[in-house]
Amino acid sequence: MTRLTRRAFHQLGLGAALVSTASGRAFAQAPEIVIGAANPMSGVFAFAGVEGFEGGRDHFEFVNRAGGVAGRRIRYVNEDSGYRVDNAVAIFTRITSQHQTPVFFGDSTGFQKAINPELNRRGTTVMGGASFASEIDNAQAFPNQWIPGPNYSDQMRVLLRYIAAQKKGASVVLVHSDTEFGRDPIAAAEAEAKRLELNVVEKIVTQPGSVDVSGDVLKIRRRNPDYVIFHGYVLQPIPEFMAQARQAGMTSRFMGTFYSTDTVLMNRAGAAADGYMGVSCYNFDATARGVQVEAIRAANVGKTRTHAYYQGWTNAMLAIEVLRRTLAANEELTAVNMMKHARALKNYDTGGIFGVPVSMVNNSFPHGRVYQYSAADKMLKPASDWITITAGA
């Protein structure tokens, strides 16, 4: 009995090995341009990774249908990083060793920081990523990377400026997770609040993976702040937090940054998420006009797409734009050349993805807008105008 099953077990292993070796064959090299990506298709960030991947994929299909970039088709090579730095580095190394890869999409702050010295050393690949980390928004330290939107600190600034415009001297509570991601913009947010004469009455740090918010609700119930801003969550505790806060008689408004504002997840949360406000640089307005937003709608009939999808799409769009400009200038696809054209993006029309023409400042596009979720319509509705963060203003 044991021997038989052991044999079966070995055969299983053999089978897996055969499948593996049969793979990995490089496809015929056409004059394609390969764009690589490590996306977290599994793990806690899979919800964003899958959307982000599909956003990129759909954009490249859209470009390829229109004949590609300067007649060259785009080949998008994506692998699952599982949101782990070493996996992502391995993926980067493999894809770039198998193909010339002028552009690569990173999956996380950790990875983008880890790979940065290598990017700078190589000078052959530029990177757009899923990270909005303030640290990466630094053209000196990260000369070959861009952020497809405002960094987390700027996202906070957008929210705080909106608050300041709504109510002078409003009280604010910051709730963030105890991760690198979660702590990123807190210091900047406090400074901005001080400048705007807002009153940060409490900062709450939660353990990653912690699901019970009742203690935290209690913590701020008696203060009943005007606004509560979440950062560093993949939505999970937010609807519950709101529901419990409502039960507790609080009248605060709840807000969040990019990944904490996800349409699909909020649709699932339903009524509990009603009224939640989030910052985004992307145009979720159903009536928005532009080539790109219309292409998105065409590719997603009957589907609601999230931030992450727009972020994937935007990264792809920026990549294509950079490639187009570099090739049009008849220059080699080196990092220096590509980033030169990237940094030359001033008042660039994003085809409706951003509501305003955008300019690259440092490595990011510091534009944003506050949306409010309507449970009845199952969508995010604009709550503010486009706000552009400029230094010192």
């Binding site: 599994s42 899958v50 740090v205 912690s210 203690g215 209690l218 529901a243 699909v264 997840l265 699932r268």
Partner: protein, 294 residues
């Protein structure tokens, strides 16, 4: 900032509420440990799969609560039995570290299964607990905390009563004391093993439904098991009473630390307690001290 008395009371009550869920999951852990001497690192994931099965019935198939809960518990029992039969029993005679490692592998398998079927996205369970907050004097208790505490307490009361008066409880305790001797008096020991895993899976699933209803569900919710681990070590691996008391205590401690020191200190506090207990009383506060002889 002055600490108000009412603040302490409210935080304590909320902590005890969470603690009751840790205690319930801890009881599931202890049932397995008592009967099979297996340290089940996958207890958090068993809780998770219970919560997702409930999600499948209540949200996926849109069944009413009164049908979803029993169905979930039945499915959980089957899963528990399946795990015991296929992964645990073949190794029971081997050294305990092997079985422990199997439960680590099981962790990975269960997370994979959940992500395969439901994806890794966090989800919310349908609301089924009353949403009126509970007021104890001036102290405010969030409704879900209050009701899940009541349900967890009731479940534990039922379990304790059953173990005290039902003959099967004696069989379980006899098996825990001495497998060979239990076998020699006619107790179906493999049956007891299966039963204990099934029962533990049911208890864990119930805890999962409650934990999920409070904080939503995701493939990462097995992390809850980490705190449960601390609970059972502090209480004593083989003591149901220990799991109860330590569960409430750890829940309370986490709430107090979170409230007055900040959330980043929660794990530090619990694991420091864990370390202290391990060094001072390696068998836990209520666990059985096994005398080692030559």
């Amino acid at each position: 900032m002055a600490v108000e008395f009412i603040d302490i009371v409210e935080t304590s009550l909320a902590g005890i509420g969470t603690g009751s869920l840790m205690a319930l999951t801890g009881v599931a852990f202890v049932i397995i440990y008592k009967a099979t001497k297996v340290i089940n690192l996958a207890i958090g994931e068993m809780l998770m799969i219970g919560a997702f099965v409930f999600y499948g019935f209540s949200a996926g198939l849109a069944l009413p609560i009164w049908a979803s809960v029993p169905l979930t518990l039945v499915v959980a029992a089957l899963i528990g039995g399946l795990i015991e039969r296929t992964m645990i029993r073949p190794l029971l005679k081997d050294n305990p570290v092997s079985v422990f490692m199997v439960t680590i592998g099981l962790t990975s398998v269960l997370i994979g299964v959940v992500e395969l079927v439901w994806s890794a996205e966090p989800r919310r369970l349908p609301e089924f607990l009353p949403s009126q907050p509970v007021l104890l004097g001036d102290a405010f208790i969030p409704s879900k905390t209050a009701y899940s505490f009541v349900i967890a307490a009731a479940a534990m009361a039922v379990l304790i009563t059953v173990f005290a008066f039902w003959r099967g409880g004696i069989a379980l305790r006899a098996t825990a004391t001495d497998r060979a001797a239990a076998s020699s008096v006619g107790i179906d020991v493999p049956g007891v093993f299966s039963f204990s895993w099934m029962l533990a899976a049911v208890v864990a699933a119930l805890a999962g439904i409650l934990v999920g209803s409070v904080g939503g569900i995701s493939s990462a919710m097995g992390l809850f098991g980490l705190s449960v681990f601390v609970v059972v070590i502090v209480g004593g691996l083989d003591s149901i009473l220990g799991a109860l008391i330590a569960g409430l205590f750890i829940g309370w401690l986490e709430a107090m630390v979170g409230r007055f020191m900040g959330g980043e200190f929660k794990l530090l506090a619990t694991f420091t307690i864990l370390l202290v207990v391990l060094v001072v009383r390696p068998y836990g506060l209520f666990g059985t001290h096994e005398i080692e002889r030559l």
